[in-house]
């Protein structure tokens, strides 16, 4: 992977003036931009791995009786036998698809890549508060990735207890057939926790203490706000997962029984601890995406963000509510029904800030001058898909309906509308949007648009029908649905979903091609190809080590587009002095 990083960054920092060894410059770099690009390569790789796991899974769901897995022969007998994916391998696929996507792809891509890249640039500072910790936060992810990949090849295969790792299934190897694989994943999880905590300390401290002069809280771009809030969530939630994960490792290895009822332990304790982390995690996975979307929509609509303060308030309240709703994952778990009542109410109320955000995004587009480039298309796609994901969430927030919906494909549809239609759409948008800043070249627009439409169409073909399959009652994580009487008649739907999933996966390669092709062949981008106002666009692309020749001073809010008093252009950079541009253009 090292060589890829080198290639990618070679473009980025070609004009680097510092005398540094190759190793210090590209591998063990403390420059936040290089670390961000390392994270980007890392996460794109794991995005592909996660996708691959999903494809195998979909094949099994669509054609459980067929066998004949294409290229099935390359798998060892313990995974695929006679062309059939074995149930234990299927469980590993389900588990590791979720785990890889959440912990090694989406989360580090949202936070590791963009918090690293954008926080110093958008705040107008030269680097993170603790550059060496920042480097460590990337290098803690590397063993995590290696352990995860290795876990597939140990005796017993990779973890197979679901990404939620419910004990006792995850704690007793004799019940799953998975021994070392589970432990390796848990150790990887501890590394991920470490990485995430180190990263968060950096992001929070930098945001609090290192803003450029004039960059007041209410002049911070919404991206920064969302990343800041996300870092707080990660800081407070990840350690709980680490603690729980370590207890689970002990259960597996040294004979404790924290989560095993035979020894007096409590399976529900695991669920409480996991979801105490898990629900904030859900917001860790969506808040940055909301930030990117706000930013891209504003730039693409040439309008200020509609209701900036409400957006900030909504972020803060989502984060706060995020800590008191975890029980809604456990309505059917046997926990105290009284808790169910409390959690229903708090959960439903989290819909309110989400609704505010959705309407405000629409407000941002309203009467705008929409530039429908790839980044903007993905941002609009985010709003459209997130709305569906949010609305389907109302079904399971309502406890009685959740009795039926819980652990069916309806949930699968919901989380994918939020995590893929939401987070990943916004991430694609973010990559199209900030790619020119990272590498100095634009990504190819035509390929970008084709990528968007393919992704959009296939995505909906994959996940919308899952609502229907869920209504019929198809359970999650099920290896073969054909044996159930109530699941007769959904085979065609499952096959369509699988074909569409193959299409969705394939369209990812178009993106990958575009990404690498544009490194060399992309149109050269100037400092500010989008005519955007935030600080990162006011320095050359790619920015040099240290980001600024002189520290910028901020005079305006973050999204001053189409200001009536500015005549020659429709934007007003945050660091443009009011008296230089126009005497009346000073904003709040």
């Amino acid at each position: 992977m090292a060589t890829i990083v080198a290639e990618a960054t070679g473009q980025a920092i070609l004009h680097e003036e510092h005398e540094q060894s190759f190793l210090r410059k590209y591998i063990f770099s403390t420059d936040h931009k290089v670390i961000a690009i390392q994270f980007l390569i890392y996460t794109l790789f794991f995005l592909m791995i996660g996708g691959l796991l999903a494809m195998l899974m979909r094949y099994q769901i669509a054609w459980p009786a067929r066998g004949e897995l294409p290229l099935g022969g390359i798998f060892p007998e313990s995974m695929v036998a006679s062309g059939y994916i074995l149930p234990e391998f299927y469980n590993a696929l389900v588990t590791m698809h979720g785990s890889v996507m959440v912990f090694l792809a989406i989360m580090p891509m949202l936070v590791g890549v963009w918090a690293n890249y954008l926080i110093p640039l958008q705040l107008g500072t030269h680097d993170m508060a603790f550059p060496r910790l920042n480097m460590l936060s990337f290098w803690a992810m590397v063993p995590a990735g290696i352990l995860t990949l290795a876990s597939f090849f140990v005796v017993g295969g990779a973890a197979g207890a679901g990404w939620t790792l419910y004990a006792p299934l995850s704690a007793r190897p004799d019940l799953t057939g998975v021994g070392l694989g589970q432990i390796l994943w848990l150790v990887a999880l501890v590394f991920i926790g470490l990485s995430s905590i180190l990263g968060s300390v950096n992001y929070i401290t930098t945001t609090i203490n290192m803003r450029a002069p004039g960059m007041t809280w209410m002049r911070m771009p919404l991206t920064i706000w969302s990343l800041f809030i996300t870092a707080i969530l990660a800081l407070l939630a990840m350690p709980v997962l680490s603690a729980a994960g370590i207890m689970l490792i002990f259960d597996q290895t040294i004979g404790t029984s924290f989560f095993l009822p035979e020894g007096g332990g409590q399976p529900l304790l695991w669920q409480h601890l996991f979801w105490f982390f898990g629900h904030p995690e859900v917001y860790i996975l969506i808040l940055p995406a909301m930030g990117f979307t706000s930013e891209i929509l504003s730039v693409g609509s040439r309008k200020p963000v509609f209701g900036y303060k409400a957006m900030v308030l909504a972020l803060v309240s989502i984060a706060f509510l995020g800590f008191i709703v975890w029980g809604h994952h456990m309505f059917q778990s046997g926990m105290n029904p009284m808790l169910g009542l409390t959690f229903t109410v708090s959960t439903l109320f989290i819909a309110v800030p989400s609704a505010i955000k959705t309407f405000n995004w629409m407000g941002t587009m309203w009467r705008g001058n929409l530039q429908l480039h790839s980044a903007m298309l993905f941002a609009i796609g985010f709003v459209a898909m997130f709305a569906i994901g949010g609305l389907s969430g109302v079904f399971m927030a309502s406890t009685p309906v959740d009795i039926y919906i819980h652990d069916t494909y309806f949930i699968v549809a919901h989380i994918h509308y939020v995590l893929f239609g939401g987070s990943l759409f916004a991430l694609f948008g973010a990559i199209y949007f900030w790619y020119p800043k990272m590498f100095g070249r634009m990504m190819n627009e035509t390929m970008g648009k084709i990528h968007f439409w393919l992704t959009f169409v296939f995505f909906n073909l994959v996940f919308f029908p899952m609502h229907g399959v869920g209504m019929v009652g198809m359970m999650r994580r099920i290896y073969d649905s054909t044996g159930y009487a109530h699941l007769q008649g959904i085979e065609d739907t499952n096959a369509i979903i699988t074909w569409a999933a193959f299409g969705l996966f394939a369209s990812g390669f178009l993106f990958a091609f575009n990404f690498f092709w544009s490194l060399k062949k992309g149109r050269k981008a100037g400092a500010n190809p989008w005519n955007a106002t935030t600080l990162e666009w006011q320095t050359p692309s790619p920015p040099k080590h240290g980001n600024w020749e002189e520290v910028p001073v901020v005079y305006h809010g973050p999204h001053e587009y189409s200001h009536p008093d500015v005549e020659d252009k429709d934007w007003l950079a945050q660091n443009e002095r009011p008296d230089v541009v126009s005497p009346a253009a000073g904003s709040h």
């Binding site: 603790f130 401290t205 800081l235 680490s242 729980a244 002990f250 404790t256 007096g264 409590q266």
Partner: protein, 204 residues
């Protein structure tokens, strides 16, 4: 591009506290959550299986641990004394107090190792020989919590030793107190956690 030529302007105020200190406090927040996860589990598990807990002093050696607690409290006071000495530019004070803190921390660890060895090898519990992490929830929670605290002490002692070496090289002084203060914050936090652990694990 209208770059305002204003080099040297101060950044936004933030917390009015230097960055390393903010960073340490933010990090301590995550540490609080980590120990909250462990302690929370302890409380819940204990409520669920109260009858499997031994009464204080039956298994665990309270007097020696009380002495250990006292050691840690002393190390906290030497730590703040080191900071005060640094602020006053008292080089000798810095060296003496940092060294003292390191030694007290190391002694704490030594006593804890002794305690563990005694428990695992010689203590009997519920009819079986040796009180190990596999000895029911009581053993599991005891070793997990005190073990992780001990791990934090170990990290602290390593950092303290490093700071002490630097003290002998004259690194610290009235103009360079931040490192000692930040390390002190961590050390006091470890002390604070022990105060709580000592109470709920050994005494209640």
């Amino acid at each position: 591009m209208a770059h305002a030529a204003t080099a040297g302007r101060v950044p936004e105020r933030g917390l009015d506290v230097y960055t390393q200190k903010v960073g340490m406090w933010v990090f301590l927040c995550s540490e609080v959550m980590f120990f909250a996860g462990l302690i929370g589990s302890y409380v819940v598990l204990r409520f669920g299986a109260a009858d499997t807990w031994a009464v204080p002093n039956e298994v665990l050696n309270v007097p020696i641990t009380a002495f250990n607690t006292f050691l840690l409290i002393c190390s906290s006071v030497t730590m703040v004394k080191a900071f005060a000495a640094a602020q006053a530019g008292d080089q000798r004070g810095i060296k003496v107090y940092l060294l003292g803190t390191t030694l007290l921390g190391a002694t704490f660890l030594g006593v804890q190792v002794y305690e563990y060895v005694e428990l695992v090898l010689h203590q009997s519990w519920q009819g079986s020989h040796g009180f190990t992490p596999a000895a029911g929830l009581y053993g599991a929670t005891f070793f997990t919590m005190t073990g992780f605290h001990g791990f934090h002490v170990l990290l602290g002692v390593i950092c303290l030793a490093w700071a002490t070496i630097r003290a002998w090289r004259g690194h610290w002084g009235a103009d360079n107190t931040h490192g000692i203060e930040v390390l002190g914050l961590y050390w006091h936090f470890v002390d604070l956690v022990w105060i709580i652990l000592f109470t709920i694990v050994y005494l209640i």
